[in-house]
Amino acid sequence: MKLDLSKYVPLGIDSKRAFKHSAVFLGVSAVYSMGFAFSYLHARNSLYMVEHRVRVLIPGAMMPDFASILGGYLMGFAVTAIFMLGLAAYYYIYHYHGGSRSMYTMRRLPDRWDLWRRCLTIPLVTILASALAAFLVMLVYFGIYMLFTPDECISPDQWRKIWDSGLIEYAW
């Protein structure tokens, strides 16, 4: 069954284009988050020194915490979410544009949810997708951090530190 996307945007807005724009925002946010890889590699390389042309761990060297390496690389998702709030407002105001107040028609429809469905679906779906993507990306990066960092260089309680660091609050 084909989903009719036009029911989820204000009348007159190209639904496919609107969904594509949201996907682009998410994609750019994901690409931006990949900056983590550079920070991680840089921090990881700092654990080593070269002795007789062999890379060896610096004794007592510790990897910076995952939260500090991740830093603001999830910021793109937060920016996307904020932009989506703006988009919801734009979709609402859109019903007053073009020399007509189509809001009057929308507000007197027997289906009271139609207006809200059209104004909020893309913003809310994108915000949820952003949150989910940010969480998944963080999990993947955390996995990379734990897997590829020498055990002796990782300070304990990394998972707890993510939450303590305020990173999540910072990102959202």
């Binding site: 009348l11 007159g12 007509s100 107040r101 009057y104 007197r108 009271r112």
Partner: protein
């Protein structure tokens, strides 16, 4: 029947736009709603439609107006309420989806009568055509009560005259039109009742039959109710001329 009881409306902390309005609008009437600019005509129509918050009560056949019965009311406004980016054809599909009693026959007939293009975006129509389209949508929705707020502003007199004729011809006996307009003389022979509103209050409510029986015309009734000073113009002119001298 629409029953309006003790309805008041105030915008912000300003003056009351409506003040304790009581009005009953039975089915099958064509009611003219008259009043000067800012008298409260538009506000009253918007309150009936639930587009504005108000105090008091407005019921439709004893029930409050909610999403359950809102389809029984339609609205044509000079501000326009169509979707600018959509063509009339697309409007028809949208209305059919939301208003089960939408009349395809009436819509197509009126579109043809006014010679409006079916596939052009509504925003690209001329002002007159936009007004016509607005009214066509309101008439085709399948509503029992058709609320019109200055629907012919910007239309030429021939267009308006044609429209009155068509309207009289197509209206079912159960359909009610509440028409807010300044064009007193034009609608005089077309309405069955006149309601006068001034500074947010109903100051006159008369059936055209009553006026006819009393041998009065609508303009006379309005002037009388509004305490119109016939010497107003001559006095102003004389004052102005004196000043210049």
């Amino acid at each position: 029947m629409i029953e309006i009881k003790d309805v008041s409306k105030r915008y912000g902390f300003g003056k009351k736009a409506l003040s304790d309005v009581d009005l009953t609008l039975p089915q099958g009437e064509i009611v003219g709603l008259f009043g000067e600019n800012g008298a409260g005509k538009t506000t009253l129509l918007k309150c009936i439609l639930g587009l504005l918050k108000y105090s008091g009560s407005i019921t439709l056949d004893g029930e409050p107006i909610t999403t359950k019965n809102i389809a029984r009311l339609s609205f044509a406004t000079t501000e326009h309420s169509f979707f600018p980016e959509l063509s009339p054809k697309m409007h028809r599909e949208f209305y059919k989806l939301h208003f089960p009693k939408f009349s395809d026959r009436r819509f197509n007939g009126l579109m043809e009568f006014f010679d409006l293009p079916m596939n052009k975006k509504a925003q690209s129509l001329s002002t007159g055509q936009k007004n016509q389209f607005e009214v066509i949508l309101a008439l085709s929705q399948g509503a029992d009560y058709i609320l019109m707020d200055e629907p012919f502003a910007g239309n030429d007199v021939f267009n308006r005259e044609d429209f009155y004729k068509v309207l009289l011809g197509i209206l079912e006996p159960t359909e009610t039109v509440i028409l807010s307009t300044h064009l007193l003389e034009e609608v005089e022979n077309f309405i069955s009742r006149a309601v006068l509103i001034r500074a947010g209050s109903i100051v006159g409510d008369v059936s055209m039959l009553e006026l006819q029986e009393e041998g009065r015309d609508l303009m006379g009734y309005v002037k009388e109710t509004y305490h119109y000073r016939a010497d107003r113009v001559s006095r102003a002119l004389s004052d102005l001329t004196d000043d210049e001298e």
